[in-house]
C-alpha cells in the first residue's frame, strides 16, 4: 500500500515513518526517457485508467439493450445525471444539447482518473500532475471562447466583459480588467488548481495515514504504540472513503463549472 513512499525507503531507514512528499508527484520516467513520449508512473496509471474506462464504456455501449440490466442501468443513471442535473439544469435543454458529450466526457474521465488515487496498486490519482487538469481546463477555455465568438461575436464579447452593462464608469475601470483577467486566466487556472490540489491533498492525507500505520503497527518494536497504529489505520479508512467522495465531488464540480463558464458566454435569456 505504501509503494509510493518506497522511494525514500533507503534514505529514511528506520528513523521514522516514510512520509509522502512532493517527490511522489514527480516520478522519474521509466520508459522512453528523454523523448517527448517518456512515460512515468503517473502517465502509466493514466494510460491504464484510459484503457479500462474506454473498454468498460464501449462494451456497455455495445451491449446496450432497451431493457437495461443492472450495470447498464448504473451507467445510464450516471449519463442521465450528467445530462439532466448538470448540463440541462444550468444551460437549459436547447443550448445544452451541443455540450452534453463534452461534459459527459469530462465527468467520466475525471471521475475515473480521480478514483485511481484509492485503487490499490495505483495509489495515485491520474489527475495528480498539473498537466491533466490543465488540459481539461484548456478544453473548457477553448469551448467557452468559441461559444462566445459564435453567439456574440469576438469584439462584442470583449466589450461585454470589459464594460458590463449598467456599471458606472469609475467602477468599470477596475471591474473591466478584472473581468477580462477572469475570462482569460482565472477560470482555467482555478479549474486546474482546484482539481490538482484536491488530488495532491487527498494523496498526502491517505499516504500519511498509511505511513504512520506502517510505522507504528508493524515497524515499531514497542507494543505500547500499537494502538496508535490502529488509530492511524482507522484514519486511513476514513480518508479513503472521503477520497471516494472527493473523486465524485471534484468530477461534479469540474463539470458544472465548465458548464457555467460556457453558459456565461451565451447572451442572457429569460
Amino acid at each position: 500500500m505504501v509503494s509510493q513512499v518506497s522511494t525514500q525507503l533507503v534514505l529514511a531507514a528506520k528513523a521514522g515513518p516514510e512520509l509522502p512528499s512532493v517527490d511522489d508527484f514527480l516520478p522519474d520516467p521509466i520508459l522512453f526517457q528523454g523523448t517527448p513520449f517518456a512515460i512515468n508512473r503517473i502517465i502509466l496509471i493514466r494510460i491504464v485508467a484510459t484503457i479500462v474506462l474506454l473498454l468498460v464504456m464501449c462494451i456497455t455501449a455495445k451491449r446496450a439493450k432497451l431493457v437495461p440490466g443492472r450495470w447498464q442501468g448504473l451507467i445510464e443513471t450516471l449519463l442521465e445525471f450528467v445530462r439532466d442535473n448538470i448540463v440541462y439544469q444550468v444551460m437549459g435543454e436547447e443550448r445544452g444539447r451541443r455540450y452534453v458529450p463534452m461534459i459527459t466526457t469530462l465527468f467520466f474521465t475525471i471521475f475515473v482518473f480521480n478514483l485511481c488515487g484509492i485503487i490499490p496498486g495505483m495509489n495515485m490519482a491520474a489527475t495528480a500532475t498539473v498537466t491533466m487538469p490543465l488540459v481539461f481546463a484548456l478544453w473548457t477555455f477553448v469551448q467557452y471562447w468559441i461559444a462566445a465568438c459564435r453567439e456574440k461575436g469576438f469584439l462584442q464579447y470583449l466589450r461585454g466583459e470589459l464594460m458590463p452593462p449598467g456599471v458606472p464608469l469609475p467602477i468599470d475601470i477596475i471591474l473591466g480588467p478584472i473581468n477580462l483577467l477572469e475570462a482569460l486566466i482565472i477560470r482555467p487556472f482555478s479549474l486546474t488548481v482546484r482539481l490538482f490540489a484536491n488530488m495532491i491533498a487527498g494523496h498526502l492525507l491517505v499516504a500519511t495515514c498509511l505511513a504512520f500505520t506502517q510505522f507504528y503497527l508493524i515497524e515499531a518494536s514497542n507494543w505500547a504504540v500499537k494502538p496508535v497504529g490502529v488509530l492511524w489505520l482507522l484514519g486511513g479508512f476514513a480518508f479513503v472513503c472521503f477520497e471516494m467522495f472527493v473523486a465524485a465531488l471534484q468530477a461534479y464540480v469540474f463539470s458544472i463549472l465548465s458548464t457555467v463558464y460556457i453558459n456565461q458566454s451565451y447572451p442572457e435569456v429569460e
Binding site: 512532493v22 439544469q89 444550468v90 488548481v193 482546484r194 490540489a197 495532491i200 464540480v253 458544472i256 463549472l257
Partner: protein, 76 residues
C-alpha cells in the same frame, strides 16, 4: 541544542500559513451552506437549483482554501 533553542519547533512555517488561509474559506463555506439550507427550507420546490448554485459557490470558495494549500506545497 543550546539554551536559546530550548523550545525548538521543527517543521515548516507554511503549515501555519495554510491553517490561517483555511479560516476565511471555512467561515464562508459555513455561511454558504447554512444559507442554502435556509433557502431550501423556505422554498423546497427550487431545491435542485439551489443545490447547483451552492455547489458552484462551494467550488469557488474551495479554491481560496486550496490556494493556501498550494502555497504550502510549493515550499515543501
Amino acid at each position: 541544542m543550546d539554551i536559546i533553542t530550548l523550545a525548538e519547533v521543527a517543521g515548516n512555517i507554511s503549515v501555519l500559513g495554510y491553517g490561517v488561509a483555511a479560516i476565511g474559506p471555512g467561515i464562508g463555506m459555513g455561511i454558504l451552506v447554512g444559507k442554502a439550507l435556509e433557502s431550501t427550507a423556505r422554498q423546497p420546490e427550487v431545491a435542485g437549483r439551489i443545490q447547483t448554485l451552492m455547489f458552484i459557490g462551494l467550488a469557488l470558495i474551495e479554491l481560496l482554501g486550496l490556494l493556501g494549500f498550494v502555497a504550502f506545497v510549493m515550499t515543501m
